[in-house]
Symmetry: C2
Subunit: 225 residues, 2 copies
């Protein structure tokens, strides 16, 4: 029998061990452990002692318990981490090529073909569906302050509102570009994100294909090579 431990206050070693086990078990099984499982893994031979510790952990706010039901417990965090979204990575976006838009039944969600994004980073409007990501290839999107290797997350769209940042294909110019869109009297103004650069002015007769709205840009900074 383990020597009894006396702690005046706070989280003891055994409390922490139990929390760690619950977290680990939950991650693996997607459901909580039973009290007997906790006991077995934390060297506690009696279910009433496990219960005793769980009561304390509940009181201190580390867990919540649904009483009298099997496995009725969950970890709390100071703030619970929110949801995450998997966004399909549909290809590359580069200046001189049309924008690859995934078909509506595009459904590749393997780890290599998608990226994970915290839902909390998304603008409120765009929490939902249909988002896709493109990897920037080339250094020709400097006007958008977007660099080679950046990931651009887009929402498919054929229309935009003034002030939306859009991904457009200008077939007359054989150019893909990412700019803020404004409809004007005689045509369209595409405003770069880079404030030192000039907008593109298009007449109404010029081809302009909006392919999507830009929702987010992510840059993983790697070592310069």
């Amino acid at each position: 029998m383990m020597m009894m431990v006396r702690k005046s206050k706070g989280l003891g070693e055994r409390h922490q061990r139990i929390l760690d086990f619950i977290a680990s078990y939950q991650r693996e099984h997607k459901h909580p452990p039973s009290i007997r499982e906790i006991g077995e893994h934390c060297d506690i031979s009696s279910t009433s002692v496990v219960n005793y510790y769980l009561d304390q952990l509940e009181k201190s706010g580390h867990i919540e318990r649904d009483r009298k039901i099997s496995r009725g417990m969950r970890l709390t965090g100071n703030t619970p981490l929110g949801d995450m979204l998997r966004v399909p990575l549909a290809g590359v976006i580069q200046a001189g090529e049309p924008i690859p838009i995934p078909s509506t039944d595009f459904n590749t969600f393997t780890a290599e073909d998608s990226i994970e994004v915290a839902m909390s980073l998304m603008p409120t409007r765009e929490k939902g569906k249909d988002l896709f990501a493109l990897k920037v290839q080339g250094e020709s999107m400097i006007d958008a302050m977007i660099n080679d290797g950046d990931i651009v997350i887009l929402k498919p769209a054929q229309e935009a509102r003034n002030g939306d940042m859009v991904a457009v294909w200008l077939s007359d110019r054989n150019e893909t570009t990412l700019k803020y869109y404004f409809k004007e009297k005689d045509g369209y103004r595409l405003q770069p994100a880079n404030p030192t650069m000039k907008p593109i002015m298009l007449k109404k007769t010029e081809a302009l294909e909006i392919k999507g709205k830009v929702v987010m840009v992510i840059r993983k900074v790697d070592r310069y090579n």
Copy 2:
């Protein structure tokens, strides 16, 4: 009694209803429902019918079941979502001000003072600890292709290796800048991420305070205003 449904193949309406209920319940309680709870909510009066459906959902790959244990089931996705990290948002970074570095016991993890990032977006080296985020203020970091409002995630550092992107405070110039760092024969070269812009060359005698390494940049694209 509900009319019996005969479907030759695939997911039926009741299958979908059960999946939806499991997902919803799991989100709320952080543990799966029991078979009786599924029955109650999906208008199935017999536990054996719930079991029958769960068997089918398991066979089709939508759920996994741990047999003979209470609430032993979990939804599968094509790929399970990974872990998320909460990074404290320690203030703003702007060109003419020193870089605010959080103290080592900086521990503010409320939702307003932190951002959530998918672990899978992190470079392998930086999975761990000590990361902090700063919000860019001002339009003076164009050479880094970083815009007003962007979030920069940094790892505290006083030294860097060649090719690291660093956040430095140049006290002689009263300037904060983000650039690739290279140690050279007579001093240091700070190379902008923007390839069209020229590096800063510093002599060894000039003040250069490395405050952190840049790990990631996130831009939430909002409407132009």
